[in-house]
Amino acid sequence: MLTVEQILRGTSIGRMQSVGQMDVIPVLADEDDESLVAPDLRIGTTEYGRVDVTHLGAKPTLVPPGAAWIVGMVAQDHAIGGGVFVKPGDTRRINGMCVQQTQPGLIKPDKHPMVILPLPLRVQALAVRNQKDYSQLWEPIGRFNDSMDVVCQGNLCAFLDRFKKELDQFVAEFELVPRQVGAIVLVGGEIVGVERAPSVAFWEALWQPLIRVCYGAAALRRGRQTTAPPISRFRLCTNVQTLDDLENALQQVRNCEDAFVMDTREQVGSLELRGRCSFDDELGRLRLQTLASPLLSGQVVLNDCENVVYASLGSSKAA
């Protein structure tokens, strides 16, 4: 069992950024952990439901859980459910799922850009990560597309094409801050994700795939359900008489936001997650474990000192 507090040990939090339905609380660290480097991957497929991943970096990496490759060629896009360690120069064949039902064809090996599956699909993909069925995400994708009024069965690219502009905007609106190695993500005022990377560089590589598709999709879905601002949004008191009053009002609303951030940190910190005794993957001192709780589920990487160097937890309720 692990608590989120343990997962975030050694980090602090930064100022919350809020746009629309999404809030991002940066997780900061003073030092990087050098055990894993950001993924620098060449991927391809030689059969449906299996992804061949070659790591081109100089040190080991973790292919993050929920990684997906939406390629521009005539080939079926693929995703993986659980994360996988890859040594430098090594190739691993990973159990995966097709995310483009109506497109046949194999992916030619190349450095295809990576995304992280939309949150609801990421959680489902993790749950079925060990099952060998390349079509198992088609129905969930179809349901997800339906929920977004995208009429295209099990093709994730249909959603990505339809909402390209909106998803690009998430990347524009949220900024990385110095020493950032992760984030606590809220959508609609509720915690939907806790992320921690081993280093600033690793986080910078994951940031866009996470914010754009994984959490961006959740924010988009929420935005279609309601236009009301989330409870994490504090309004400035505009009923002021002087500029001094306005300055005080700004300070007050800032205090409220900071207090909300601290409360959120405390609330999420107390969450307990449980996992099996066995690990999903191991590499030297590092172990990859799947954890779950009623609120969050995902995977973490622990080192031999039982410190968490990587975590990616998404809302279990998102599916």
């Binding site: 930064g14 100022r15 919350m16 950024q17 809020s18 746009v19 629309g20 809030d23 502009k165 690009d168 905007q169 990347v171 524009a172 609106e173 949220f174 900024e175 990385l176 801050v177 110095p178 949004r233 309004r235 400035l236 008191c237 505009t238 009923n239 002021v240 008489q241 002087t242 500029l243 009053d245 306005l246 300055e247 009002a249 700004l250 800032r254 936001e257």
Partner: protein, 519 residues
């Protein structure tokens, strides 16, 4: 309706009856946003594809409003080369222009654009005309290409530096058969050319040029088409000589000699190319090669006064600030301030130095460079100027972008100094939290504070179809650099009073034209 096509300076320009003044203003503003801030590359926020789509819409909509106005505004000073390039393409390729603009007027504008565009952009435009389905190849386009190439002041340099693109442009204009025929004619010694060859050379080349330039142009065109013997022009002979001995290549452009080195002398180091060509480097190369030159121990001189303030800040981000650059920045700021439309006793300036001002890999740190250059100018348009920074980190005298965007707090701090006006320089993306500036402005106006607030935006946002606004009550103006601040403020006027603003823009464009003609 008074259109620009038949413009009478005594009368006011009005939009066509089917388009309202507001709509006309909106289209002109979108065009100005593109013309001043879009470079057709990806930004921190948008992909290149998204930028291109938004640009196309802005050009098309202004063109549909009034082709004459479109053509006239292309002559404004301070537009990006990319905007001029698109404009040239439209003038040559688009149907509406053919219908609504007198030929003489169209020719004037085309000639201006051809003169202003750097050769790479010119050839790219010709390439895109060739590549467009249906191959735009009317008589006007052919004449434009031939005139542009054959009368180029630097034709000898062009055939050495851009020989493939130049050859491709000529083939587009002449067609493959005529090009082959002309090549054979040019390869034939003068005394042995038959009458048909002479007529063809005169028809396809001679009629565009002065008689005294004929042998020069013939040799250049021949070189571009692959003729390498009996060369008399110095640069062409140097090109050939450098194939055998790289040291003979002094006088050639760096990239040309580097190309010859990689093919004919691969065992010679790249640093040797730099050493040989250092006296002939372009302004841009003098700046961008500084690091490379220092590493190679090659002395490459650059004169900081040859660059815009934005270019100097980009250079400083890469290499560092030195006294020469600082002095040049000071001079440029003073000069740009002279053209600022007004002066203040007390001016407030809010600088967005958040992470998004890092720009994108395609244009790293450009938004920050424009912001700092503009700040320097604004520092000189008020007796007292109060500057506040949102985010950023001061490192070796330079503000480097970092952190989130919380402009509202800085704005209120600046307002406490009671300025007469406030300029916010920001890309318009606010996230700590979004909308806080709107709340602050609403509160301000509620307490009766009417301090004018302007927003200068150095980044084109494709999802906004222009520059992104912080709040609908704050006029936002596209910002290319301090040199075009006047134009940015005119955009504000167009938004506030479209007819007056557009007419002022027309006057500005006509003044630019008259100045060019008198030169």
């Amino acid at each position: 309706m008074q259109t620009v096509a038949a413009y009478n300076p005594g009368q006011e320009w009005m939009p066509p009856p089917s388009i309202s003044a507001q709509e006309a203003g909106k289209r002109v503003c979108a065009f100005l946003d593109v013309a001043l801030t879009s470079f057709g590359r990806s930004t921190h926020y948008n992909t290149q594809a998204a930028q291109k789509i938004a640009e196309t819409v802005a050009h098309d909509e202004l063109l549909a409003l009034d082709p004459g106005l479109y053509a006239l505004l292309l002559g404004l000073d301070g537009l990006t080369d990319r905007c001029r390039q698109r404009g040239l393409w439209h003038l040559l390729a688009s149907q509406p222009m053919k219908r609504s603009l007198p030929s003489a007027r169209k020719r004037e504008v085309i000639e201006h654009l051809v003169r202003e565009l750097p050769p790479q952009r010119l050839f790219k435009t010709f390439d895109s005309l060739r590549a467009k389905s249906g191959r735009i190849n009317n008589a006007r386009t052919r004449k434009v290409i031939l005139r542009a190439v054959l009368t180029a002041r630097c034709l000898q340099l062009w055939v050495v530096k851009y020989r493939r693109k130049l050859a491709s442009a000529l083939k587009h204009a002449w067609g493959q058969r005529t090009t082959s025929y002309l090549r054979n004619a040019l390869a034939t010694p003068l005394k042995q050319r038959d009458e048909a060859q002479k007529v063809a050379l005169n028809r396809e080349i001679g009629r565009f040029i002065k008689p005294e330039d004929q042998s020069y142009v013939f040799e250049c065109v021949g070189f571009a088409l692959g003729i390498r013997d009996k060369l008399t022009l110095p640069l062409l002979r140097t090109f050939e000589a450098a194939k055998a001995d790289l040291q003979c290549g002094a006088g050639l452009p760096y990239e040309v000699l580097e190309g010859l080195r990689s093919v004919y002398h691969p065992d010679v180091s790249k640093e040797e190319t730099l050493r040989i060509t250092r006296e002939g480097l372009t302004k841009h190369q003098q700046k961008t090669f500084q690091k490379k030159a220092r590493k190679a121990g090659v002395d490459v001189r650059m004169n900081a006064r040859n660059y815009t303030a934005t270019e100097l800040y980009l250079y400083a981000f890469d290499v560092g600030l030195d006294n020469d650059v600082l002095q040049a920045l000071e001079e440029k700021a003073r000069k740009a301030a002279q053209f600022f439309p007004t002066r203040y006793d007390r001016l407030g300036v809010v600088i967005d130095a958040s992470r998004s001002h890092e720009g994108d890999k395609a244009q790293p740190l450009r938004p920050m460079a424009v912001t700092l250059a503009t700040r320097d100018t604004l520092l000189r348009v008020g007796k007292e100027v109060y500057v506040g920074y949102c985010g950023g980190k001061l490192e070796n005298g330079l503000h480097r972008p970092q952190g989130e965007t919380s402009l509202a707090e800085v704005l209120v701090t600046i307002l406490a100094r009671k300025p007469e006006a406030v300029c916010i320089v920001s890309d318009g993306y606010e996230n700590a939290p979004a909308g806080r500036v709107t709340e602050v402005v609403r509160a301000l106006r509620g307490i009766g504070d009417t301090t004018p607030i302007f927003h200068l935006n150095p980044v084109f946002a494709s999802e906004a179809g222009g520059v992104r606004s912080l709040d609908e009550s704050i006029p936002v103006m596209p910002l290319r650099g301090p040199e075009t601040l006047g134009m940015s403020f005119l955009r504000f006027l167009v938004e506030k009073d479209p007819i007056q603003g557009i007419n002022m823009l027309i006057q500005l464009a006509l003044r630019s034209e008259r100045r060019r003609v008198s030169c």
